[in-house]
């Protein structure tokens, strides 16, 4: 690890210089919540934020995105032929992303960036973005990152990690991309003295110890899909769910989307839009048949996908980073932590 102790003022002037060169996004307070917005000045950043209400996934996988455009004008020789929609892929910086949300992007990479197919827009946006993370020194009541294998100081998803100290920051360079940014735009700062590094270690273990473990997540891989699929648990879990889709909408590791065409006069475009496994239309066949027509099937799909199918398919742990958004905002208090505990105890009984 290469670290720099940097004063708040120096950090601000560094971000200011970055914002002049790059499109820069950071957590900004709007009304009663925080959200990632484009900034021009570091003054706009809410450094004291816990986490944004909407996850930053929309910066890579927008809620609604134009994929292609076309003409339907009979006089146009390229009528009906889809052309790529122009997009701005100039380099950008995201400042202040939480380690959980940054790691979520790596998990979603497993879906969009494969050896067989690459999602052109996701991979391009990942490529042009440098992530400056912000370590989390006081996790919230609904946070459980450490319990699902990420953590408040997890560096695996970021290019640079900032650790907030009293009146300064420790700036850790994690990746080559982070190194390049620091070389291009010198943030100043100095080598951190040992007591600062000790302090950072202390902050880290304090933050981590605020989160209690569920037990052994490895147990999720040991049981078969059908052991979990047929468990009576889903009937109880689904009871209160109103299929509103809030959980999937807010979740940084939910990526499902729909594709729809829209036409205005003789022009049209093909759009991709966030979709949700919680909606019955998601799987409805044209024939009327629907493999997940019942709510219990959809609720089970959401949790089984995150906690079992994803685990088995990619062997990179669960598709949940413990950000707690779905726990906080589910209108009927369905709590994924409770479901993880119950799935683990199912496994414990079986072993």
């Amino acid at each position: 690890m290469k670290g720099l102790l940097i004063s708040r003022n120096d950090l601000n002037s560094w971000i200011k210089s970055l914002a002049e060169k790059y499109k820069t996004f950071a957590p900004v307070r709007t009304e009663s919540y925080d959200q990632f917005s484009m900034i021009t000045s570091p003054e706009e950043i809410n450094w004291a934020y816990r986490n944004t209400r909407l996850s930053p996934k929309a910066l890579f996988h927008p809620h609604s995105e134009k994929m292609f455009q076309f003409s339907l004008d009979p006089r146009d020789p390229s009528k009906n032929i889809l052309k790529e929609a122009p997009k701005d892929f100039s380099p950008r910086v995201i400042v202040g992303i939480r380690p959980c949300d940054a790691y979520a992007l790596k998990l979603v990479d497993l879906n969009f960036d494969t050896s067989q197919y690459k999602d052109p827009w996701w991979t391009k946006r990942r490529e042009i973005t440098t992530l400056i993370g912000l370590a989390c020194t006081s996790p919230g009541l609904t946070c459980f990152c450490k319990a699902v294998g990420t953590g408040p100081f997890d560096t695996r998803g970021v290019d640079i990690l900032l650790v907030p100290l009293e009146d300064a920051f420790l700036l850790e360079i994690i990746t080559e991309k982070g190194q390049i940014l620091v070389e291009k735009y010198n943030p100043g700062g100095q080598e951190p003295p040992p007591e600062v590094l000790n302090n950072v270690e202390k902050l880290k273990s304090q933050a981590e110890s605020a989160i209690s473990s569920f037990g052994n997540l490895e147990l999720l891989s040991e049981n078969s899909v059908s052991d979990f699929f047929d468990a009576p648990l889903w009937n109880e879990v689904q009871f209160g769910c109103i299929n509103c889709g809030t959980c999937t909408f807010l979740c940084p590791t939910c990526w499902c989307f729909d594709i729809q065409d829209e036409v205005y006069r003789d022009k049209g475009c093909r759009l991709r839009l966030w979709d949700s496994c919680m909606f019955p239309l998601f799987t409805l066949h044209g024939s009327g048949h629907n493999p997940r027509a019942q709510k219990v099937q959809r609720v089970r799909q959401r949790f089984m996908h995150k906690l079992k199918y994803f685990v088995d398919k990619y062997r990179q742990g669960v598709a949940c980073v413990g950000c707690g958004r779905c726990v906080e905002f589910c209108p009927v208090n369905i709590d994924i932590r409770d479901i993880i505990r119950r799935m683990i105890s199912l496994s414990e009984c079986a072993v």
Binding site: M67, F68, F70, L72, K79, N80, I81, L82, E84, N111, F112, T114, Q116, Y117, K118, D119, P120, V225, S226, F229, W255, C256, F257, D258, I259, Q260, D261, V263, G268, R270, R272, D275, C277, F282, T283, L284, H285, G286, S287, P291, R292, Q297, Q301, M304, H305, Y309, D312, K313
Partner: protein, 280 residues
């Protein structure tokens, strides 16, 4: 790497009404750019997304065989938004094709074996592709006996009729055409449900694979027949259907447990399916 969402432009060359109820039409499509045609390398069992600007996309099995050059063939049932629009289109219009997508029937495994093909209704599309492929003079020696059972509700609903009757006369393929019922006194083929005809004709399971595609009810009653004939689950192959959008394993909607039907399928053996949740 190319944008996997971008369809190749194609022109509708011909539209053939296949069935008496006019609900099934076969579309012959030609690539506008010859380099696109070269890139579109497929094997029987794969599908493609047919793209209609302003309407959307539908996943459709490829009914032509890679041994047929110069065009692609899709047989499309009129169901909802996109397929109804397609049925009203005319030759000469431009649409798009995106693919080939999904896996194919396991051609490497089928080599050297006898192949039993069982199809019902309009699920015969990729089976037609497979038969044309195997009958090609270059490929025919690679396979043992080829037995086909194909049924529809009545004679008017059989696909590819002229081809069927021609195949029926060949001696390098055994074809059993059947209908559930008919009042045609001239009908010289079988009458009976596909599972019953399969039982009656009893194709041998010796060194054989069975490929079964059709409505769920037909599959349900055909499986025990095949099992009695001695076909193990890992030698019974089928192709599944799920609602799809992306066709490349990214939009998340077509999974059965860990498997995306669009990318990991649509072709599975019953051995593989027995390990997945029964949610399709």
């Amino acid at each position: 790497m190319e944008n996997p969402y971008k369809p190749y432009p194609v022109i509708i060359d011909d539209i053939i009404v296949e069935t008496d109820d006019k609900n099934l039409r076969t579309f012959h499509l030609k690539f506008l750019n010859s380099e696109d045609e070269r890139k579109f390398n497929y094997m029987p069992g794969q599908f493609a997304e047919i793209s209609v600007a302003g309407q959307g996309e539908v996943p459709i099995g490829i009914a032509s065989s890679p041994t047929e050059k110069g065009f692609l063939k899709f047989t499309i049932n009129k169901v909802g938004k996109v397929t109804t629009y397609l049925h009203n289109m005319k030759p000469g219009e431009i649409i798009g094709v995106r693919g080939p997508l999904g896996n194919s029937y396991p051609w490497d495994k089928l080599e050297g074996s006898n192949v039993v093909i069982i199809g019902g209704g309009f699920a015969f599309t990729t089976l037609r592709s497979s038969i044309v492929y195997m009958l090609h003079p270059e490929n025919r020696p690679k396979y043992g006996d080829i037995t086909v059972v194909y049924g529809a509700r009545n004679p008017g609903l059989l696909l590819y009729k002229e081809e069927l009757f021609a195949w029926e006369r060949r001696d390098d393929l055994t074809l059993h055409i059947t209908v559930d019922a008919t009042d045609d006194p001239e009908w010289k083929y079988n009458v009976g449900f596909v599972p019953a005809i399969t039982k009656e004709k009893a194709p041998s399971s010796e060194n054989a694979y069975a490929i079964v595609c059709g409505p769920p009810i037909m599959i349900k009653f055909t499986l025990p027949v095949l099992s009695d004939l001695g076909f193990p689950p890992d030698r019974i192959i089928t192709s599944l259907e799920m609602r799809m959008k992306c066709g490349i394993g990214m939009c998340g909607r077509c999974n059965i447990g860990t498997e995306y039907v669009c990318k990991d399928g649509p072709v599975f053996t019953f051995e593989q399916l027995s390990k997945l949740p029964n949610e399709y």
